[in-house]
Subunit: 166 residues, 2 copies
């Protein structure tokens, strides 16, 4: 665990969280990765060739029917170690305060991460994939087929990020 993993940095702002929750989730499996500490996780999942294993709860095995025919999947998973009240946060590698909804940081009101992964194979309830950067044992929420027709936008721009790199 990082120092200050639950803390707040200069320039960060927290909102008051709602009193009640509105809906509830089932963990449907676990993601096995080589990374057990945050500092070990790759900064950009595309830069990593590490093969990770998605272990789906046997309860859902039949829901994996036809998944093997997909070249890429969307995974939703639960970043259970993140605080949920930050509205403005300062990613350490950028050093500038940004709005939470303009960042992919795990700290957000609903800490659901979304990753696009390449599917290497399916063996029973285990899926081998590349393209992840999360901690070992991260709870899995959903698996979806990736449709290029609706999900791929190669021309998309994140303005604040492009400015940064110039």
């Amino acid at each position: 665990m990082d120092d200050n993993a639950f803390g707040i940095w200069d320039g960060e702002i927290a909102a008051e969280l709602p009193q009640d929750y509105d809906a509830a989730l089932y963990f449907i499996g676990r993601i096995r990765t080589p990374w057990v500490q945050r500092k070990d996780c790759p900064k950009n999942a595309r830069e990593s060739n590490a093969v990770c294993t998605i272990e789906v709860d046997p309860r859902w095995q039949q829901a994996l029917t036809d998944v093997a025919s997909c070249s890429h999947l969307i995974l939703l998973y639960w970043m259970n170690r993140s605080r949920r009240d930050l509205v403005l946060q300062v990613p350490r590698h950028y050093g500038i305060g940004r709005g939470t909804f303009a960042l992919r940081s795990p700290a957000r009101p609903n800490p659901i991460a979304m990753s696009v992964v390449r599917l290497l194979g399916v063996d029973g309830t285990k899926l081998s994939v590349t393209g992840l950067d999360c901690l070992d044992d991260t709870p899995l929420l959903d698996i979806k087929p990736y449709f290029a027709s609706t999900d791929a936008v190669p021309e998309a721009v994140v303005g604040w990020h492009r400015t940064l790199k110039r």
Copy 2:
């Protein structure tokens, strides 16, 4: 509401749901669309030019900082009318049983939908977008910037779907 919206069709299989939930969600806003019944929703969001409005709860306004610089966003939202126990389901327009995790159907253990939308503008806590196909008043869970570098895979293939279209 459709006939049999909560029912089960020939060829569909339900799993027993876990006894307990594992995590909980806050609704952070609402999605306003022109569609109040399922039968009115477009089948393919890319075929619709309808402008929809994302109404974010004022609590989260500062989290929208920098979002206006994004050309495209990922929205996560809650398909609160769907049953959660189907592992094999028969989409009516295909007529063949498929595994839930090979489909984008709202019926899934965690009914979180993911859509990539084009951002037209931000006005306070309201975002104008295109690319949605959900019902009016759908609860919003998250807004993320769309990064082409990690999210766009134009060559991705959903094998069962390609076969179907031949």
